[in-house]
């Protein structure tokens, strides 16, 4: 079956020791990102900071989707909850300035975790898997978006909330572009490493096994529902964290940070890089985000049209992600050369 290959199939696991192209590209990118501030202006730098936070968001989706094969259409909910949590805590709670960022982060991530825990419990323990899970999470985003727009006394309604203070925790101040840039880079690098470590280890194997045959894994004595729930909640926590950081860097929140389109976009970022590869999620975000800016500057309708076309192509032409598609092309081309 040609599903969008959730990596970790037997063949890929055997090759983890050799350096895969995606890992090499990731290392080159990391090096480039470290020295980038020497060459660019502070506006470009802040753009790259935002992309890195969105990459963190993409990574959070890939942790769950890539390994379990269960597609969440509602990850923007958790990103948005993180962002709104941060904004609401820092604007409405009336806290001392030195506590604002810390409480905001905790509150944002906390709300995201709580919602993921409740929803995840009801649907994962209820045996909802696969496509049904996708529908329920899709509805979750719609609900969250309705609330963000409708509950305007708290969320600011359509216009959102402006004036989220820049990040500063204890004596560390991240209000400057450079410091927040390196903060984002550090968080992204650490998260990526930890995620790679976990997903190539025992937990990753277990999740892949659950995807292949949950009943069998359960018979072997693993609490599969709890494992899935914990993975889902961790993924949501990471998305919420990315959202909270994004809100404090951007300085505002708006309903489009908790909307279905964002849920859709993050799926594309991950799918372009090849779901399940983790580094691919980051690369995908960088590539697609740049492309997105170019396309949306042409006309308002162009970007959704491009997404739609992309989804259809994704399934019909390159179900394993674009990098894998290009590699396959190369292989076929090489083989053809030998035969001739």
């Amino acid at each position: 079956m040609t599903i969008i290959q959730p990596a970790g199939s037997a063949m890929m696991r055997r090759t983890t020791r050799t350096y895969r192209p995606s890992t090499v590209i990731a290392l080159i990118m990391l090096a480039a990102l470290i020295i980038l501030p020497l060459f660019v202006k502070s506006y470009t730098l802040s753009t790259y900071r935002d992309i890195m936070l969105l990459s963190l968001f993409a990574l959070s989706l890939d942790i769950f989707w890539g390994r379990t094969g269960i597609l969440s259409f509602g990850h923007a909910t958790f990103f948005g909850l993180g962002a709104y949590g941060m904004a609401i805590a820092s604007i409405r709670f009336g806290l001392e300035p030195q506590w604002v960022s810390l409480v905001g982060l905790l509150f944002g991530v906390g709300v995201a975790v709580l919602v993921a825990l409740c929803v995840g419990y009801f649907i994962l323990y209820g045996g909802v898997r696969g496509a049904y899970f996708t529908i329920v999470t899709l509805a979750l985003t719609l609900i969250a978006n309705q609330i963000a727009i409708g509950w305007s006394s708290v969320t600011g309604g359509d216009s959102g909330l402006i004036g989220v203070p820049p990040l500063s925790i204890f004596d560390f101040d991240f209000s400057g572009t450079l410091s927040s840039y390196y903060l984002a880079l550090g968080i992204l690098a650490v998260s990526l490493l930890v995620a790679l470590r976990l997903m190539h280890g025992r937990l990753g194997l277990l999740l892949t096994a659950i995807q292949d045959n949950e009943t069998k894994v359960r018979t072997l004595g693993y609490p599969t529902q709890r494992i899935l729930l914990l993975t889902f909640v961790s993924s949501a926590a990471m998305a919420g964290f990315a959202g909270a950081l994004y809100a404090s860097c951007a300085g505002f929140v708006a309903p489009d940070q908790i909307a279905l389109l964002l849920s859709t976009e993050v799926i594309i970022w991950v799918a372009v890089g090849g779901s399940g590869t983790l580094t691919g999620a980051v690369i995908g975000t960088f590539v697609v985000w740049q492309l997105q800016q170019k396309i949306s500057s042409m006309s308002v309708a162009a970007w959704p049209l491009a997404i739609g076309t992309f989804f259809i192509l994704l399934v019909l032409v390159f179900p394993k992600g674009i990098p894998a598609f290009v590699l396959d092309l190369f292989k076929r081309w090489n083989r053809g050369g030998v035969a001739r």
Partner: protein, 282 residues
């Protein structure tokens, strides 16, 4: 009594709307097991057919005939080009139909513009019913939905086509061996689901703001109707619509509509925990 009758009729109207929107989905998703995220857009297509027909000087009644026809043709095309390639692969179906829905939305915006469209219902005015006055169009809608609902049941239970569809879905290979043209049956079943959605769109249009994005409002709710009711059972669709429509109407008398809609979907999630196969499984 004076307030109870409008309340009941409001409830019936919403249940009717959900029923007619979800019935198409019950065929495509419930019976054929295709996750069609573009279902809402077929509703939109129906509504825009009414817009186009009325702009060309046609009547509502003409659109009521043309709408399902347009939906059927587009459904047939979509099935041939896209859906036929993703049977048995839910993830692919989700991505393809979601892509399709985004494309249809933008094409409609490009053709008709983003502003809400103007449509008119077939008749204005209200009817006196048990001492309460109620818009005539809504009564007409309730009646028509009931008719279509029972007609669909008859088609699926009593006709050859219905038998073929059920056979092709239960065991495609066996049905093919018995001489059923499974590809053709699948295409027709999908197209009838799309036609049903388009019919719902025509009926809905005079009551709501017609925009290219209207379909999303019905997408999640219609999926929940099918899930809560029990995928694969026709009686389930009625049960699901009654549950979601009834609860939503009752709640929206007390709290804002958006919050009521959200609350009902949350309750539906809770129900799925305890009855994963729906209230009335097939």
């Amino acid at each position: 009594m004076q307030t109870a009758i409008p309340f009941l009729l409001n409830m019936m109207t919403l249940i009717g709307i959900l029923l007619i929107v979800s019935m198409g989905l019950a065929i495509i998703f419930g019976l054929m097991n295709v996750i069609n995220l573009a279902h809402g857009e077929f509703v939109t297509i129906g509504a825009f057919t009414l817009v186009a027909v009325q702009a060309a000087g046609g009547s509502f009644w003409l659109a009521l005939l043309v709408g399902p026809l347009v939906g059927y043709c587009i459904g047939l095309m979509v099935e041939r080009v896209l859906i036929a390639r993703v049977y048995g692969n839910p993830l692919h179906a989700i991505l393809v139909t979601w892509g399709l829905s985004l494309i249809i939305q933008q094409l409609l915006v490009l053709t008709f513009g983003a502003a809400p469209q103007r449509v008119t219902g077939p008749f204005e005015g209200a009817i006196d019913l048990f001492g309460a006055t109620y818009p005539a169009y809504r009564l007409f809608l309730i009646g028509l939905v009931m008719t279509v609902f029972f007609a669909t049941i008859v088609v699926f239970k009593k006709t050859n086509f219905g038998l073929n569809v059920r056979a092709a879905i239960q065991n495609g290979e066996m049905a093919a061996v018995m001489g059923v043209n499974v590809e053709k049956v699948n295409a027709r079943a999908f197209a009838s689901g799309a036609a049903m959605a388009a019919l719902a769109g025509v009926l809905l249009a005079p009551m709501t703001a017609v925009t290219a994005y209207m379909g999303v409002n019905y997408l999640a709710r219609s999926f929940f109707v099918v899930l809560v009711g029990g995928a694969g059972s026709v009686a389930g669709v009625a049960a699901g619509s009654s549950f979601i429509g009834g609860l939503e109407t009752a709640l929206s008398y007390q709290i804002p509509t958006t919050v009521a809609q959200a609350l009902v979907l949350v309750m539906a999630i809770v129900i799925l925990r305890f009855r994963p196969n729906g209230v009335l499984p097939a």
